[in-house]
Amino acid sequence: MARKGILIDVNRCTGCYNCFLACRDEHFGNDYLPLSAAQPLNGQFWMQIKEIERGKFPRPKLSYIPIPCMQCKDAPCISAATNGAIYKRDDGVVVIDPEKIKGQKDVVNACPYRAIFWNEEKQIAQKCTLCAHRLDEGEKRPRCVESCPTGAMYFGDLDDATSEIAIKAKELNAAAFHPEYSTDPSVLYAGIPKKFVAGEVVLADNPGECAQGVKVVLDGNGEKWQILSDSYGDFEFEGLEKNTSYTLTVEKEGYAPYTTQIFTRTDVNLGEIVISAL
């Protein structure tokens, strides 16, 4: 027994799409029966890349979240399929049997991660197998992990506490993407972006110089953070919870304080905050 999985460090992902294209190269037009049928030309993304643009000009942020099948321990697709068409192998890989799955389109909607795709022509559901056919031949990792240039992906046995992936998962405090789906995925993530609040402090009586070292306080959600504006007068609070109310205060001795209420429905760029001398 084992639990093969991938750990994805989103902070290291540059959005190069190598993983997506390597997957396409491995599977397009190539059957690996009985583990997987060939990926068709259109509409299937066994390794899907989700681009996340946050914030506003001139303080945007860019992240990419690669999303394969999560190889869930409690995979909803397995119970949605009939005839044992989807099953879990001893190594934890969830496999759709290309023969038995024929006509079972409902399994596509069983996956909350939308990682199962319907092949209209063959009338089968398909998805990532962690390149199980390659693992069975002795390869050490799936094509997607092999192709990653920055080491943003780790592959291995999550149940083996001595494995690189298990050690890294602990170190990076990795967790499921969308834990609320409660499927216990074997693909884990570090660095999934949350919300951020940013702005630039400007002194009304000295706009030709950046306002470095001004105290900025963010208060909310039962916590309070205090930072100083950087050399450009910029400040940023990263990793905030979504849909949460905060109070932001800018304070500098001899200047009128600035306070505003923030709600993190999206990321917030407050732009220039001009404070005036008293």
Binding site: T14, F20, L21, P60, L62, S147, V202, P207, G208, Y232
Partner: protein, 838 residues
Amino acid sequence: MTEQVFTNCTNAGPVSVYVKDGKVQRIRPLVADEKDFKPWVIEADGQKYSPKKKFNIAPYVHGERRRLYSDERIKYPMKRVDFDPDGERNAQNRGKSAYERISWDEAIDIIAKEITRVKDTYGGSAISGMTSSHHNWGIVGYKMGPFARFMNMLEFTPVLDNPDSWEGWHWGATHTYGFYWRLGMPEPYDMLGDALQNAEMIVFWSNDPDTTRGTYTGQDSALWRTWLKEKGVKTIFIDPFHNYTAGAMEGKWLAPRIGTDTAMAMAIAHVWITEDLYDKEYVKDRTIGFDEFKPYVLGETDGVPKTPEWAEEESGIKARTIRTLAREWAAKRTILSGGSRGGEGGACRTAFGTEWARMMVLLQAMQGLGKPGRSIWGTTMGAPSDVDIWFPAYADPEGRIATSSVAGFLPFNPTKQRLWRLTLPDAVLNPPVSWYGEGFCGQSLDQQFIHFEYPMKGYSEIKMFYRYGGSFMGTLSDTSKWVRMYQSPKLEFVVNQDVWYNGETRMADIILPACTNFERDDVGEWGACGGYTCHASSGSNFRIVVRQQKCLEPMWESKSDYEIFTLIADKLGRKEEFTDGKTELEWVETFFNHSDLPKVIDWETFNKKGYHIINIKEDYKPTPALRWFAEGRDCDTPDPNNAKRGTDKAKELGTYSGKIEFASESLRKHFPDDEERPVSPHYIPSFEGHRSDSFKKYGLQLLSPHPRFSFHCHYDKHTDWLDDIPIHRIKKDGYAWWPARIHPTDASARNINNGDIVRLYNDRGGVLCCAVVTERIKPGVIHSYASSAKYDPLSPGNADSVDRGGCVNILTPSRMLSKNVPGMTPNSCLIEIEKWEG
């Protein structure tokens, strides 16, 4: 049949090719024996940095299998249906008429007869031909091999290339710090180690290395930037587009108005001078002309001090921000990353782009260029790399079958006439044309001052054009003039030889199908261009020379370029001259024996194993770029083309004075009164920018950088898997559109929504794209990559037609960098944009 695994190489990485029953199953990053790798280690601040034993190829190389079997392959020789070499040629229908399949015999017969007719009637100079770059890999088959060898035999008129990706550095920076033998790029040696050990900040100025990837070295350097980010090196990105490297490294983003980077640079110099924040000793000992430069910066010569407030007016970047940047740059050991190879970048492809490139060098000179952490480095080259084992690269004369001393017969071309790539259509349509500069001026600074005029006395205008590849609709500027050129009856005969259909292919009279480098034998070192970019494979973590094994027979009726030229030469009775009696595989072995590889591996082993990794020696000693110059020592870097190295002038740079020149001696000698490239650099507002008259009509600036998921025009439409990458193309209504990025304020002012099909237009033409509304672009700027391979005019054959393929270069100006600088200026381009209702 069992699976066979072959080795091969591409222009962005080495690969293993798995073939079963004559069909390619998969193409992986080359799978090498782990024992062959001896990774280097760089120690910095108690950490050890070392690459994994693997090759990080570029994304599009994962699509090679799809490109190999693409529907866009040219499968058979074709003839334009209304072309009759013995009757009506109907040149006016090029780009419009259909084609019919003909036999190889018929095609070769027509071409040989036309060559003979044109040569007999007008002389060899009436034949011209040119290639696109980089469409395959391997020195035997590369364009500078068979194509050049054959064309020299015909005594043709060569077309000189402009240094398209780094214009300002070539025509400007060389007059500031030399390096003409690198066409304006700095030497890259051991800069990765310098960065890890010494850098506190990196200013990426007009540079997106995660996208342009050091040209050939795939994604090996992506890991280096990950290290630098995780190490906490501060990064600044100056670019109108929040580029992909900025996204990955999460640096501070400054978005100046296009064409005003030089003003920002002047203001930084102003801060340093007025606040006494520059390296005065270095300026005194290592530079000349500061006394001419300083008064201009301070406004003593023109009454305009180049203050941060002045620069804010021009660039839109706040004066306080420029001030802080200048102070931090001076206070921290700061690397200037002015383009993928150190120099390059869109800012040098603008009006007067020489001035920006010169300022990049001068700013870094004011901070002690060459001292630890004070380099000009693109972050894509300069890993520890062995330079003792020589293997010829395509740009080395010794690496081309056209010029190498290993050839028994070397054809000599006596024709002195030249054409200039950017003005080739003008030369055909409206001669005469003239310009200064002998193309890639890598032999001397003085090559830049040679005057050329076409037609040259004693030679013919060109009558026959042999095009090899055909990407210019998507890469050069004001490109609809290429359609006009092709439709001129002055071009009596046009051939196009290529692997895939490209924008210009269907402008030819005869089309010939070439095969890919997977269908023939070759050899090549990953990332090595040689010549003017010597030791470029230091952009890879491991040097690897790949025996590019023929993986399958040429498909359909395609043939290798070498074989095609052999057939034509045979018809002309000159086969032996062309082939030197050798097959392609025999040329491979000849080059192998000519190189240093036999010292470390024998031919049989190399030929069978398919690769050899050249690791660094155990006693490797770094020689950081320009450290010798900063420290006043003889040059100790292994840069073989530095003519002063090893002489009594070994302490000097390649400028006339041997120092960094704030006032250029070479420009003073040749163009002392040139106000558009003055002796000491100036900020000159763009001829097509926010101060131009046309700005009232076309109020948006177009930024068209090199693309992220193609290599120039290669891959793109020949690899339709890429259409599933929305950064590259966006599928809508059954068509894969080229994206145009627009800020929400500009979009809403024009009632444009994300995903709308829009027309980008100006007086030069119109191009349809798919709108991407994003906060990552400066308001007032439209970002759409250059190098669409798909030229798809709504009205084929009509040069004025709207294109829906995404060739935004149709919109860019013909005007050159400045009056004496024949470089292209695609980023000085004003447009409007509107929702396309069809």
